[in-house]
């Protein structure tokens, strides 16, 4: 009889512990099996992110990313992922910074109204194929000090002037 009471007490305690642990797991959603396609993305390309999300009452999953090089990080973007099957979410993004050398991303998961962030992950970006590392500066958004358009326009103006003067001289 005494042993039976002990066993029952053990069962109750174990049940409470198990229930508590389950609740903690439910409160903390997580991502796993993140798949990036292509696995070595290039700049200005489309990249598809597919991930499994575990947790209860998942309302939404977002991918937040930015594109950086050594000197600048370009606009952070927030994309809502589409649920493609039970617990699997997917989104395709288009990279937009041509000089980026890496991108940083993380996921935000809305679980029962509460947002949870995952750790930042860096992904190295390869230069676009056929990119010969152009150093031209026309319209360069980052290094605005380099001359570009004004030189070309000046050359066109000089050319036009030469044509006009040349025509008039031969009349």
């Amino acid at each position: 009889m005494k042993n039976l009471t002990k066993v029952l007490l053990c069962i109750v305690v174990m049940s409470i512990l198990a229930a508590t642990l389950t609740q903690v797991n439910a409160a903390e959603p997580s991502v796993r099996n993140v798949n990036i396609s292509p696995s070595n993305p290039t700049v200005l390309s489309n990249v598809t992110f597919t991930t499994e999300v575990t947790g209860e009452d998942i309302i939404a999953v977002s991918l937040i990313y930015k594109e950086c090089d050594l000197n600048i990080c370009k606009l952070i973007k927030n994309t809502t992922m589409t649920k493609i099957s039970d617990g699997t979410y997917q989104t395709t993004i288009t990279l937009s910074y041509d000089k980026a050398t890496y991108m940083t991303y993380y996921f935000e998961i809305n679980s029962a109204g509460k947002w949870t962030k995952t750790e930042y992950v860096n992904v190295t970006l390869s230069p676009a194929s056929g990119d010969n590392n152009h150093n031209g500066t026309n319209g360069n958004g980052n290094n605005q000090k380099s001359p570009g358009f004004e030189f070309i326009i000046s050359m066109i103006a000089v050319g036009l002037l030469t044509l006009i003067l040349g025509k008039k001289r031969f009349r």
Partner: protein, 179 residues
């Protein structure tokens, strides 16, 4: 003959003048009054850019987990060490609050400098609002974006991306001499 040449020559000069005026000095804005803005310091205090008028202001629009911004911190540290706080004040504002960055993340970044590099970042840090007001006005092209305001609050210099100490110091010296 001379009058025939004069007209196109005049047109050419006007043309050249207009385009050179348009393109030379794209980055160095010498007398543009800045749009005032408010931000929240890490102590939770609401401040305005105009609160710092009277000193030359270096505005560093930055974000956390941004390697170029972290590189910029080292350059700003040199500014902080080499210029009197009576002359120059540095404001580093996290402008990606609208994208989910938080005060605790900014705290962690400052602590990381302290722990890894033994570097105390002893200037004002703040946070943009959740609507990205400062981001949209001052840093829509990316981070870091730097501004130097003269003592009257006019934008003297701006630069998108990392900028080294030498360039910042030369601009600061020039704006300090101006007044």
């Amino acid at each position: 003959m001379i009058s025939e040449i004069k007209k196109p020559l005049f047109l050419f000069l006007v043309f050249l003048f207009v385009f050179l005026t348009m393109f030379v000095g794209c980055t160095e804005k010498k007398s543009n009054a800045a749009d005032d803005f408010s931000f929240t310091t890490l102590d939770g205090e609401m401040k305005h850019l105009s609160d710092f008028y009277g000193k030359v202001i270096v505005l560093d629009c930055m974000a956390v987990n941004c390697q170029p911004c972290m590189r910029e911190m080292s350059e700003l540290k040199k500014i902080s060490e080499n210029y009197s706080k009576n002359d120059v004040t540095i404001l580093s504002i996290d402008v990606w609050i609208s994208s989910g960055e938080t005060a605790s993340m900014l705290h962690d970044t400052i602590d990381a400098f302290k722990n890894q590099d033994n570097m105390t970042l002893d200037w004002t840090f703040g946070l943009d609002d959740v609507h990205g007001t400062i981001e949209n006005t001052y840093a829509s092209a990316g981070v870091p974006t730097l501004y130097i305001f003269d003592k009257k609050g006019n934008i003297y210099y701006s630069h998108v991306g990392y900028e080294d100490y030498q360039m910042l110091a030369s601009k600061l010296n020039a704006v300090l001499e101006k007044i």
